[in-house]
Amino acid sequence: MIDFIQMGGDGAYVWSAYGITLAVLIVNIVLVRARHRTALRRAREIAAQTEVPRRQPKVHRVQ
């Protein structure tokens, strides 16, 4: 196991390379997910604003 981590003395290189790549992938996933959620939330706000006026019932005045 220790051998695996040390990678014949070059462990720092191998693990930092894999680590940075993994970190970049995770950053990409997390940031995009957050952005997607924010966009959906903003879309809901816009939708809520445009729905309300239409919900008001029409009042018919009887002459």
């Binding site: 970049v24 966009a39 959906l40 809520a48």
Partner: protein, 250 residues
Amino acid sequence: MKLPRWFHQLGSPPYVYRLADKLGPWLGGLGCATLAIGVVWGLAIAPPDYQQDEVYRIIFIHPQTAYVGMMAYGVMAVAAAIGYIWRLKIAHAVAVSAAPIGAWFTFCALVTGAIWGRPTWGTYWQWGDPRIMSETLLLFLFLGYLALRGAFDDRDKADKITAILAVVGVVNLPIIHYSVEWWNSLHQGPTILRGDGPAMTTDMLLPFLITVLGFTLTFYWLLLRRLQAEIVEREGDARWLREFLPGSVA
């Protein structure tokens, strides 16, 4: 010219969004699984290399990220061109989504390449190496595209202008790559960084190919996720979006 039905379908944001929503998780699962298998295989199971001992294992991530970065630019340029010629907003959305992912992958390629260079060739960075020059210029092309896009307030204008830049860039890429190779072949010194790394036996070839597939699938998954976010931002108040909004308002 009679275009096939799926071409028209792909031009419709709701269709693409729904497709991405259904396809996304599968693609993500498949991509991550493939990548995980490939990485574990490459790190733990594949035997050490005759020349480079253990550190050669970076070969399972470095060329892959470089390749995906270049593919991302191709996807970006083709999508931008389609968007420009056929005036398809969705195509522009694809281009915008591909750019940052491509930039990140190219960044990874440069960093993993530098890390790999130190123990194997004694230096992190060698300005003379053709691969480094090409990758660096590719990163600059991505950054230029993103900078130009960010400078415009009008999204429509940004789409078209950056489309032109993307196409010019993609025409330039082979020229840049070839001229750097040609220039480097004439210098005696820096050719020590040449060579595709260790010669590959089947023990190494299999995880290599698996990680290529893994990174490619992961790229397309990330692209789909970004594309979805992009579509929502562009189509904010569209009715078809209602069913996807948190706490359905429809």
